[in-house]
Amino acid sequence: MKRLMSGNAALGEAAILSGCTAYFGYPITPQNELTEHMAKRMGESGGVFIQSESEIAAINMVLGASAAGVRAMTSSSGPGMSLKQEGISYLVADELPAVIVDMARGGPGMGNISPSQSDYFQATRGGGHGDYKTIVLAPATVQELTEIVPLAFELADTYRNPVLILGDGMLGQMMEPVDFDALKRPPDVRKDYILDGARGRPARSIYSLIFDAKLQEEHNWKLQRKFQLIEQNEVRYETYLTDDAEMVVVAYGMGARIAKGAIKRLRNEGQKVGLVRPITLWPFPMKLLQDLSATVNDFFVFEMSAGQMVEDVLLALEGKGNVHFYGRPGGVIPMPVELYRIVSRHYYQAQAARGGN
């Protein structure tokens, strides 16, 4: 059955259906509908809800709840995400699962509450202190959230690592029809590390302090081996009209929806432009772009930022293609027609450079 819901509320509902029984949040726009939904639904479903005193407290409550063995989640945006980075670093170091929702807004500083993609670096480069990564999932529709959220909890449990769901104010606050019928609760995994009292087993401890540099290094290599495994197994993306494409737009989340609108116009005029939409921003679909570079010369990166994912595209292509870029930072949302004009210009310039007509 389809229901009309905001992305934030749908995300909360999907989390509960995925077996999340502990949510900790602090008000910040544009993710408040999620906190509000959890306040109501956790009470009804017997789960734990706390409106914490800060984002720092919330992420540490998540750490505690996760250590106690349950599926735990928090959510925030911009300034609040900066505050959560300390806790995320500890979650990774402790190898504790958690799902963290980031409905990004314009920055830096207080910025604004408009949709933005300027926190890509913070999300995909670890974000806090230390050598680490979090899995970053970037849905583009409210319906896709119902697939992303159970996946996020499953990946978090499987790899014992925090998973970030990176959306923006538009995805969080827009209402779309959503159907939860196909949502499957991820299977419970055996957690032999949790702290629930040393009953019938030796006492356990969870900590990240490793004074001995060699042992700390080994712990780091262990984490890195896990990240390599994630890179091998968990890359997800969508391709759209790439088979005959002469130019491929790379965009994610709401940016990809704007790009799709632009590409439909371009296709109507016979311009062979396709789309790659990374669904996992980390691990990034490196190999896909490398493979495409065998037949495609020009890649056009579009972001609602001054240019962050474009660095991953450059890294992926290793110089084997021209990289074009268009971005609007600060919470500005370009219309598809604006992007269409710019991609079209680059498309014809690239064609001319190749000696086409």
Partner: protein, 278 residues
């Protein structure tokens, strides 16, 4: 060891033994430090109350950070100052377990004041063991929020001056005005009578938690001869002569243990978990 001369045979009378929950490890604490006593008392109380299979400890950043090396119970490390938030997350999920955080004065009274204050205000059914030695010990003896006026530390070389660095923070008195707090007591481990009182206070705080009374905290004045640059005996005397004047000992607040209907957060979750099992 006491010899039983009457019977001629040799018998022993145990006057002190290592609690079974205290691992046979060497403490990393400096000579004369109060942490070792507090660690031992905690394990004694948990053993005596039969809570070894229930207790979960949240260890801090600071001198108490290696508790998992000493405690034969579940222990999780917390980031600096976040112990009360981590304990909150655990306790809400496992309301039947004994959950306590172990926090120093920099941890609770400076960087983690918000987390401690709001856990207290929500009446989280947890216990905070608050070790107050008036300095940042682990990092080399810098000024803490609890450092006394005129006290010399590495970051108050001319003595703490209230104009520039404010006043010593009395956490128990601050938390006492919050309706969520059930039991707050300040004790000291600088002499045998104080150690006995500290043990009683810890036991009482844990009992309040078992009763579902809400937030409990035991503030323990603890000598730090190394950072205070004193001999061990001198440090113990200084707690009596100087520190206690600013941090008076005693029960600061006790709402009583008779809690007919535990109102602490998480009680609902426990019922939900029970009915799910049933």
């Amino acid at each position: 060891m006491a010899r039983d001369s009457a019977g001629g045979a040799t018998a022993t009378k145990t006057v002190y033994k290592r609690p079974s929950l205290l691992k046979p490890a060497h403490f990393h604490y400096c000579p004369g430090c109060g942490h070792g006593i507090i660690n031992r008392l905690l394990m004694e109380v948990i053993e005596e109350m039969g809570l070894a299979e229930s207790a979960i400890c949240v260890a801090p950043a600071g001198c108490g950070m290696l508790l998992y090396n000493y405690f034969e119970i579940d222990v999780i490390e917390s980031a600096h100052g976040r112990g009360s938030a981590v304990a909150t997350g655990i306790k809400r999920v496992l309301p039947q377990n004994l959950v306590f955080s172990y926090q120093g004065d920099g941890d609770l009274a400076a960087i983690g004041t918000a987390e401690g204050f709001h856990a207290a205000n929500r009446g989280e059914n947890i216990t905070v063991i608050f070790v107050n030695n008036g300095v940042y010990g682990m990092t080399g003896g810098q000024m803490a929020p609890t450092t006394l006026l005129d006290q010399v530390t590495t970051t108050s070389p001319a003595g703490r001056c209230s104009n520039l660095a404010g006043h010593p923070v009395r956490i128990c008195e601050v938390f006492a005005v919050l309706d969520g707090t059930a039991y707050l007591e300040r004790v000291a481990v600088n002499k045998p009578s104080g150690v006995t009182k500290t043990k009683k206070a810890i036991r009482k705080a844990f009992q309040r938690q078992l009763d579902g009374a809400g937030f409990s905290l035991v503030e323990i004045l603890s000598p730090c001869p190394t950072a205070w640059k004193m001999g061990t005996m001198e440090a113990c005397a200084w707690v009596d002569d100087v520190m206690k004047k600013v941090f008076p000992l005693g029960v600061i607040k006790d709402t009583g243990g008779d809690c007919a209907a535990p109102a602490a957060p998480g009680a609902g979750a426990a019922e939900a978990a029970d009915s799910e099992e049933g």
